[in-house]
Every structure is written in C-alpha cells, then in structure tokens.
Symmetry: C2
Subunit: 355 residues, 2 copies
C-alpha cells in the first residue's frame, strides 16, 4: 500500500497512454511526440503521490480492480499526474527554477535545444515552448479523463470534480505569485488559505474524492474524504516548506533555498518575521526574494529559524493539525476500516518524511 | 445568420457563465473573480467567430433551440471562446504583443497592476499572472463543457472532439513558436501544415463539428464538415496574414506588422523570400524578426510584396482554395440546403473581409 510499486505502475500506465496519444499527435508535427517523450521522462522522476492516492482510494472504496488491477482508476491517476506535470512546468517558468525532479526543468530543456540549434533568443524560446508544453499536458489530461470507460453518471461527477478543483488550484497559484511579488509580509490566514487551496485540496482531497467517486461511493463519503484531505494536505505543505528550507538539492531534486530566493510567504517565514528584531528584519529583507542568494545567506536564515524557536513553533502547529486529522479519520464511519488505516499510516509517513 | 447579434448573444452567455463561476472561485481568493472580470471584458472585444460557428452549425443541423434559442450550443460556444481566450493570452506572452483586441494584453494588464502596487519585478509578475490566467480560462472552459446538459453519448463524443482537437492546436502552436525562432525559411508544406492544424481545423472544423455532434448528427455529416472547415480555414488564415501585413493597428486591434516583427513564416514571407534577389534578401534578413521594427522598414517590406507580385500569387492560391471549398460544400449532400448556403455565404464574406 502506497509503495514504490504503485508509483511504477502509474508511470507505466501514463507511459502507455502518452505513447498512444503521441501516435495521434504525430499527424500534426513532431513536437507532440517530443512533448510526450519529455513528459514520460518527467513522470519517472516523480513520487506519483496524487496518482497513488486516486488508485488507493478507489480500491479501498471497493472499486472493481478489473484485469489490470486498478480498473479505470489508473488512467484517472495518470491524468491527474499529467495535470500536475502541467502545473509544475508552468510553475518553473514563474519561479525561474531551472531544475526539477533532479533534471533540467522543461523550459530549460527547450532553451538548451534552442541554443544547440542556433535559434533566435533561445531563452525566450524556451519559456514559450514551456508554456505550450504545459498546455499540451493539460489538454492531454482532459483527453484521458474524457475517454474513461465508466458509467455516465460517475463520469459526469468525476469530470465536474476534476474541473472544479483544478480551476481553483490555478486561481490559488495566482495568489501564490502575488504573495511572492509583494514586498511586505502577508497575514497568517492568507498563508493558510494558500496551503488549503493550492496544496491540500488539490493534492489530497481531489485524488481521495476521485477514487471514491470512481468506485461509485455516495456524496457523504466523498465529503468525509474532502475534509480529511484538507488537514492532511496542510501538514504535507508545511513539511514541504521545511524541506525547501532545510533540505539539500540532492535530497529534494531542486535548488536548496528556492523558497527563500523567491520570497515565498511560508509559515516559517511568517513566524520568523514576527519574532525577528529590527536588525534581524533588516537582514531578512535583504535576503528573502533575492535571486542570487549566496550559500552563506541561506545558512544565516536557517540559523535564525532555529535560534528564534520558529522550528519548535511550527512543529507544535503540525502536531495540533495531526491530532485534528486523526480525529477526522477515526470518526469517518462511512469509510471501510482498511481505508482509515491507510490514511492514518499515510499521516504518520508524512509527519516523518525526509523527501 | 452570422450577425453581430449572435456574437452579442454568445458574449452574454459567456458573461453569465463566468459570473456564476466567479461566485464559486470567490471562496478561494479574489483573483478568480478578477480573472473572470478581465475575461468578460476580453470577450466583448472579440468577433466570437468560433462560438458563432458552433451555434450556427447546431441550429442548421436541426438542433433543438430550447427556451434560450440555442440550447446547450451557446454554452459549448462560450467554452470554445474561453479556450480561444486562453490561447491568445498565452500567445501574447510568447509573441510579446502588449495589445490585443484594442486593449492591453492580459499579461500587460497585470504588469500595470504590479507597477501600481510596487511589486517586485512587475514585468515578470505580469508574465506569470498571464500564464496563470490562461490556465484558469482553460480549466473554466472544461468546467463548462463538463457541465453541459445533453445525452451521455453526445456528451462523450463532444468531449472527445474538443480534447482531441485542442491538444492538437497546442502542438501546432509549438511548431509556430519554433518557426518564429528559426533563422532560416521553412518549407512551403510546413507553412500549410501550420495553417491546417493551428488555424483551420481549430477555427472551422472543430466548431462546425461540435454543433453537428451536439445536434446528434451522425459521423459522416461531421466528417463532411471537417473537410469543409479545413480549406475554409486555410483561406481565413491567409486573409489574416494579409491583414497582419497590410492592416493598420486601428483596424486589426493589434500592432501593425507584428508578423514581420516576430519573423512569422507566413505564405507571404515564404513567396517573398523565393522571389527576392540577393540584395532584397539582405534587407529582409535584417527586418524579419526584428523586435524594434521602424515604420519605414515595415513600409519597405510592403512595397517589396507588391513589386515582386507576391500579392497576386497569394490571391491566385486563395482563389483556387475557394474553388475547392465551394466544391466541397456543394457536394456535401448530407448537409441541409440552408447549412450549405450559410457556408457559401461565409466563404464569400471571408474572401472580402477587411478585419
């Protein structure tokens, strides 16, 4: 359950689906196949967390495994991973992060191609191709979702779930861009709103609900999963911020300190800002949002986070959210016991994860 | 038929739909409503060509007009116009066109907002918000398509048509970006491939087929419309290139000569290049793809197009495509006579249009 095998299985379904789609796109020009090939390589580097949650939720909700073992859930999972790839491809352009999942970001791959072929303005060419590649991934995801073989009413529920939630994520992403560009600190509730809408509902509520809908479970079950996903996901994001601040590039697959460099308004930065004195605030102002961040500057931020007890404060918040999540899971009587056990297990994994 | 009234009607359905969606997005943060408001203003400036073709095709295919007059075709039309808005929003970032439909491009609107609010790097902020806004428009379009009230088999056919065709357009857009960045001229068949996949199938085949599918017409009718849309659309694109080269900003709603500035590989530029002598090629090389194009340089290109008989050559090609299109329309026995009449009328409008 939630093993690396499941991730490999989703990558292989995604690979097969993209290979079929590439055949159709070949009629247009060679770029469709080129994008599909890059998307397959991109997927191999991912954790497939969202996709695995779709499949797990489907099977633990009593969905028919069918001959492949996951019924249509594996294809819905592949579609969600493709939507996620699209978001990451576009995010990397916005965040100017040139590596992702331990490899060059997609736009950076096209910049490289542009330089090799002597194209005009290869930097801009890469950004343009990255925007297109993200768009292609989105359309292909909806193409897969549209072609799922399931009862009409279930299909309708699933499509409305996916389109509603993903449109909300894109709107949350705008807020994230805005926060990054604002010179001042934002309010704590704005940070939590972003955690909820950009990460939690999308990474947990959506896949858990999708699996349950595909298995034909009624709306009250889906609603319980929605709430569980929200707190589970907020914890996940806070852990992600922790890794972004303290993890090394080798460990997290993207440059260390990228949240600091982008001036991301994380819970860490928020509390740090509240506790800093005038001198420390001055240092932080010069460093948060600085594109050419020196290793020594990142180290200074890290030291201050420890020194001012920010780590402890964040850990306490996480502990309290974890308690709330456990309560939500245990009281979800409509979920089968093995489903609840998986969710509790995942919560614990998440609390301890280092990647 | 194909009147300004129809365009207004589609804008008003789109406006109502976006207003409803904005209410849901308000739960996330204020940007969803902000994007919806900008998308409504953006739509008001558009011709709604694709949307009108969906509605016309639906009604002329015998679709039930329902209480509103266009059944669900108006909402499918609104969704297609929203997809088109998304493409234009992303295109303007790629093409660095800061005005569109007589107003600032969406990314330029956000750059302005960034400057007014004193945000970090307002130029980059505008690009990032533009990428997000296009993504939001895409998700909202699929949200509308997913919610159409129609028979399950028709819904399935419609969704697979939309997702297949739009994924192909996005792949064609990559080729367009690549052509723009290539320092050399491309082959004639590559230009026509782009005309077919980026414009013709998307602007004509897709909406004509969508209306027909929604009206429940069988596959052979849809196939006839697909072929008619292809040549009709290639003519449309060539006329668009003509306007891009010879039209004024006031007339076309975007900067004059933008295709020259971007070094777009149009049929005009292709034939011009074939006919130019060494000295003229040298002048053209310095001007095609030049971002800071002077009015005198644009005028020199225009003079050369006339002098070398390129206009006449293009007009001959268009005449031959028009003959082929008329033949396709007249021999489409499965289409009702009024539908064929509308297509012929539209062909003539297109041949003479100045906007």
């Amino acid at each position: 359950m939630m093993t690396a095998d499941n991730a490999n299985r989703i990558v292989s379904v995604l690979e097969k689906t993209l290979t079929d789609l590439a055949r159709d796109l070949r009629e247009v020009n060679p770029w469709g196949e080129d994008v599909c090939r890059r998307l397959i390589a991109f997927s191999r580097g991912g954790k497939m967390l969202r996709g695995r949650l779709v499949v797990e939720s489907y099977l633990l909700s009593g969905g028919d495994p069918g001959p492949g073992g996951e019924g249509e859930a594996a294809r819905a999972a592949a579609a969600l991973e493709l939507i996620h790839a699209a978001f990451l491809i576009h995010d990397d352009i916005m965040d100017q992060d040139s590596s992702r999942r331990g490899a060059p970001a997609l736009f950076a791959q096209y910049q490289q191609l542009g330089r090799e072929q002597g194209l005009h303005a290869p930097g801009h060419f890469g950004h343009s191709m990255g925007i297109c590649a993200g768009d292609v991934a989105l359309f292909l995801a909806f193409r897969i979702l549209s072609s799922l073989k399931t009862a009409a009413d279930i299909h309708q529920r699933l499509l409305s779930l996916f389109t509603r939630e993903t449109s909300r994520v894109a709107v949350a992403q705008m807020q994230d861009v805005y926060h990054g560009a604002r010179p001042d600190m934002v309010a704590e509730e704005e940070i939590f709103s972003l955690y909820l809408h950009k990460t939690a509902r999308y990474t947990f509520s959506l896949p858990l609900m999708a699996g349950s809908v595909l298995a034909g479970r009624p709306a009250e079950v889906t609603a319980a999963l929605e709430k569980i996903g929200e707190t589970l996901g907020i914890i996940f994001q806070i852990k992600d911020d922790e890794l972004g601040l303290f993890g090394s590039e080798a460990r997290i697959g993207k440059p260390a300190g990228s949240d600091v460099r982008e001036g991301k308004k994380t819970l860490y930065h928020y509390i740090l800002w509240q506790r800093a004195d005038a001198g420390q605030k001055k240092m932080l102002s010069g460093v948060l949002g600085k594109q050419e961040l020196a290793a020594s500057e990142l180290a200074a931020v890290r030291r201050l986070v420890d020194k001012l007890g920010v780590r402890k404060e964040v850990a306490d918040r996480v502990e309290s959210l974890a308690g709330e999540t456990r309560k939500r899971i245990r009281s979800a009587a409509s979920l089968p016991a093995p489903f609840r056990a998986m969710l509790l297990e995942f919560l614990d994994y998440n609390l301890g994860r280092g990647k």
